[in-house]
Symmetry: C2
Subunit: 457 residues, 2 copies
Amino acid sequence: MNDKAANEFTAGHIWRTDGWHADVHLLVDEQGCLRDGPSRRGEPLLPWVLPGMPNLHSHAFQRAMAGLTERRGKADDNFWSWRETMYAFAAAIGPDELKAIAGQLYVEMLKAGYTRVCEFHYLHHQPDGTPYDRPEAMSLALIEAAREAGIGLTLLPVLYISGGFDGRPLNPRQRRFGHDVAGYLRLLEELRRHESDDLRVGMALHSLRAVPVPAMREVLANDLAKDRPIHIHIAEQLGEVQDCLAIRGARPVEWLLDNAEVDARWCLVHATHLTADETVRLARSGAVAGLCPTTEANLGDGLFRLADFLDAKGVLGIGSDSHISVSPVEELRWLEYGQRLTTRHRNVAARGAAESVGETLWRMARHGGAQASGLPLGDLCAGARADLIVLDPHSPLLAARDSRSVLDSFLFAGNTPLVRDVMCGGRWVVRDFHHRDEAAIAARYRQVVERLAGNRE
Amino acid sequence: MNDKAANEFTAGHIWRTDGWHADVHLLVDEQGCLRDGPSRRGEPLLPWVLPGMPNLHSHAFQRAMAGLTERRGKADDNFWSWRETMYAFAAAIGPDELKAIAGQLYVEMLKAGYTRVCEFHYLHHQPDGTPYDRPEAMSLALIEAAREAGIGLTLLPVLYISGGFDGRPLNPRQRRFGHDVAGYLRLLEELRRHESDDLRVGMALHSLRAVPVPAMREVLANDLAKDRPIHIHIAEQLGEVQDCLAIRGARPVEWLLDNAEVDARWCLVHATHLTADETVRLARSGAVAGLCPTTEANLGDGLFRLADFLDAKGVLGIGSDSHISVSPVEELRWLEYGQRLTTRHRNVAARGAAESVGETLWRMARHGGAQASGLPLGDLCAGARADLIVLDPHSPLLAARDSRSVLDSFLFAGNTPLVRDVMCGGRWVVRDFHHRDEAAIAARYRQVVERLAGNRE
């Protein structure tokens, strides 16, 4: 399509909460929002238009270590041994490295169909724990990477105080993550000044073990916690559940629901190890369950109680987390498949008769992802931010697929990329499978990771 | 690379059973086999060369229904309800449709890194059960599709006699699958005449429930069962295990091991539901466990006992089966991930210290796949058939990856295609991500599936 036509288009089919709508004419206004457009001949037709997917959980720097830990180490290779490797890798990442890695990652996210990312960001200081001259330097690197790539960003600076439920201090490799409450609130205030249509700044508690109770109460009582997303890692590992039970006398999700006003601002990331009661209480709280199926599989975390949570009308979204994979297709496909493998039934996520699993998953994850990102939850209608993706009508994977089957084929059939074009905030950032700046961003990334690899040798 | 240079190349790194070898100079002779080549300047350098992966289990026609069954039907949506949909779909497939669908599928397989496919082929007759004028017409459609696409084929015509362990006759939708023993052996003899470097003809029993015991004994005693692969579906579903126990007094794998000379000719497809004892006995038999992780997930079958089987030194390979996915990466990645999710440990497939999971999985699946295909098991050395793939060195996913990490990154990191070139039987069939005939084959496929969809409406 040419540039003139780019901001005025006809969707052959556009997908909204109630299903597909045919022949919809839309404009993009100067604020990057959709408006109803006039029907005209000769406009480019975008055959299958979907809302972009928010990616609700990202540690951008981990993208560069994808594939470096798939090797047998100790006999008890698990989440905790992986974490040691990750800490060593993180020690070499400064603002330039972070910007280069995040830029490459965000290009990959856009090309895969993500139009927003929530950065759960804890690499705040220099490797020895000293703040940078500008204490927000690492946050600014992420903001700049997102701006260059053209992806929407919800930045979640992370509060990280202690190394365990017993309140032990951070170990040397964790020191660069740390803040006291006052320093953390100053960082949030500084970053809030950068907010825009493309950037929201929420907050995050690393985990219950990393935030002592008085500190948690203090930040949650602050005005900065109002009307913005609050994310937390929770119940990812059984060891964490056991420690929480031993020291706080309750399981992590149970304890949080009892001790904080958990509501729709919240996103509980992973929430893997839940009792039936916690599952229902989490669903009723209105918080988002932030599921990261490929990372949870890679790290051997376990499977979420999906059917119980959906029966209780829980809200969920997806994140690529460690970026071992970067694809909403793989996250949603294997969210469903993990359930099929363990229940021995098919089409677990669908609730009603004749409901498409693909549509159900895309609708739920897009809704929960928007909520966790602090975005409006609306459809691709007049007034909505123009964050959308266009599927490739020429792919054999979609041959002879109609509106009844196209989303199921997108999510379940095959492995070749189907996202042809991506518009983010009203700008076309991917066209015909290519990001507007992918070569330069990839070259910078390559330079940085080759230097990092050289230093490791 | 130009055509002249195409049959003489330098591999920057080539992967063999004992690991990576640098700067290897190779020629391809007129029989499509490798020979040692002289070291020369100016030849094209192929940076990362791997042996192609055999795909040990395929029902080609099912490719065209991928994505059409991911929709909630009855409350008890499971393997058996899926099978009803599949039967209805199969009823519309004749030789022309099968050739068009298989051709498209085989192009996708090659582009994903498969260089061989085992067709477990049971759509023998016309939909009402009448043989075609040439009884082998459907088999010939598969042979022709493989030839056009340029993929190696191991054709496994399937013996299918009864509709259950009780010996009930085939139902109307199964009639086109059926043969008596004499007719089946005639089909095998006829097809053997077509064997070539690119085509092997083995045999397959659909399942224990579909082949009465006397028929099984008769075909296995025939000379045609010597020196060729013998495949069987087994223990995919708990219902099958229960029926076998009830009628034959033993579990399916247990019964087969007790009642047939199961050895390295055999491939037991799925083998999902095993006891610890069956797992060890299967491993010791030398037969291949034919695992199809994406189909087994899609159908809700269950997880294979991988760790126990590998501890007992079992041989395994992978198949894309229903073709809901077509990618050795997704099969191997999720074979490993299924284990991590249930054991809560990482790097389950690796046995030794410091062993790469990616290398372990590729080596095992390539070895077991070759065995199940009736191919030699050797490395990419002089004398071997030139079935190889070349990874894209320009992908950011492989930036700063060395021979220690490239296979782990290929199998575990990211979602973009990394197979740049594919040589099959000494011919380059994929170059720079494009198959030599992909447009024409896709156009024919599209025409056929659109006609099939029109007929369904």
